[in-house]
C-alpha cells in the first residue's frame, strides 16, 4: 500500500517539476535536505526508544558492515565484467585500425 502512494507522489512530483521547469526551483534541494534531516531525526527517536536495538548495537553494526562488503564486492566484480566486455574490446578494435 505504501509503495503505491510513494510512487504516485514521485511521479506527480516529476510532472509538476516538468511543468514548472521554467521557474527557478533551486530551493527544492534545500527542502529535500531538510526533509532528509527530519526523517533521520525521527528514525533516531524510534531507535532510541527501542531497547533491543540499543543493547544490540554492536551486532547490528557488524551485520551492516558485512552486508556492505558483500554488496560492494558483488557490484565491483559485475561492473568489471561489463568494463572488460565493452571497453577492452573497443580499445582492441581501435588498435587494429
Amino acid at each position: 500500500m505504501y509503495i503505491i502512494i510513494i510512487i504516485t507522489l514521485m511521479l506527480s512530483g516529476l510532472i509538476a517539476g516538468y511543468l514548472a521547469r521554467r521557474k527557478n526551483l533551486a530551493s527544492i534541494h534545500k527542502v529535500i535536505t531538510l526533509l532528509i534531516w527530519t526523517l533521520l531525526f525521527l528514525l533516531g527517536i524510534e531507535v532510541g526508544n527501542n531497547k533491543t536495538i540499543i543493547n544490540g548495537f554492536h551486532t547490528i553494526g557488524l551485520e551492516a558492515l558485512l552486508i556492505t562488503i558483500g554488496a560492494v564486492t558483488g557490484s565491483t566484480l559485475a561492473s568489471w565484467a561489463l568494463w572488460i566486455i565493452v571497453f577492452k574490446k573497443n580499445s582492441q578494435k581501435g588498435a587494429e585500425r
Partner: protein
C-alpha cells in the same frame, strides 16, 4: 562527506533525545515519518522533472552502458545473498532489502522501517552510509584496478549527486553522463526493489 556526517548527526541526536526522554510525547504514534517521506518523494520527483536537460543528454550514451545499472543490481544482490548465508539471524530477503538501498540511506532506511521495523531499518541506514563512504574513499583505487565503471557501480544511487565529483575526477569527464544516468536509474529502482524484498 560533510553531508553524511550531518545525516548521522541528526540520527544520533534523535537517539539521544528519545533515550534520555527529552521529549514528553511519542512522535512515532503520529506516523510523522511516513508523511515526511511522502513530502520527500514528491520533492525528489520535482527535482528530476524540472531538469529535462539531464534526461535528454542520455540519448548520446553507448547503449551497452545502459546495462551498468543492471550489473550493479545483479552484483549487489549476489553479494548480499552470499553474505546472508553467514548471517543466521537475517533472511536472504532481509539482506537483499538492505542491499537494495544502493547507498540511498535516507529512503531505504525509512522504507524498511515502515515494513520491517526499526531494527532492520537501522541496519539499512548504517550499511548504506558505509556504501557511500566506501565509494568516496576507494574510488581512486577501484578506478585503477577494476575499470572506470566500478566507482559508478559502487556509488549506486549516489552517483548523480554526492559521489559525482570524485567519479568525474578518477574515471574521467567522459563518464559524467554515465554516472548521472546510473544514479537516476538506481534512485528510481530503490523504492521498487526494497518494497519487493520486504514483501517476500
Amino acid at each position: 562527506m560533510k553531508g553524511s556526517i550531518t545525516i548521522v548527526g541528526f540520527f544520533v541526536l534523535g537517539i539521544l533525545v528519545s533515550y534520555y526522554h527529552l521529549i514528553p510525547f511519542n512522535f512515532a504514534s503520529f506516523n510523522l515519518s511516513f508523511y515526511t517521506l511522502c513530502g520527500l518523494m514528491f520533492c525528489v520527483g520535482i527535482s528530476v522533472g524540472c531538469d529535462p536537460k539531464t534526461l535528454l543528454s542520455f540519448r548520446h550514451l553507448d547503449p551497452r552502458i545502459a546495462f551498468l545499472p543492471l550489473m550493479t543490481i545483479l552484483g549487489t544482490l549476489t553479494g548480499c545473498i552470499a553474505v546472508s548465508l553467514f548471517l543466521k539471524e537475517r533472511s536472504v530477503s532481509d539482506c537483499c532489502a538492505v542491499g537494495s538501498g544502493f547507498g540511498y540511506y535516507s529512503l531505504s532506511s525509512i522504507l524498511i522501517t515502515e515494513y520491517k521495523g526499526a531494527e532492520l531499518g537501522t541496519i539499512a541506514l548504517l550499511s548504506n552510509i558505509l556504501r557511500e563512504i566506501t565509494a568516496l574513499l576507494f574510488t581512486p583505487l577501484l578506478a585503477k584496478h577494476f575499470g572506470k565503471l566500478s566507482p559508478i557501480s559502487i556509488g549506486g544511487a549516489t552517483t548523480m549527486d554526492t559521489t559525482l565529483p570524485i567519479i568525474t575526477q578518477y574515471s574521467g569527464r567522459e563518464f559524467v553522463v554515465v554516472s548521472i544516468f546510473h544514479g537516476c536509474v538506481m534512485d528510481f529502482s530503490v523504492p521498487f526493489l526494497v518494497t519487493f524484498f520486504c514483501s517476500i
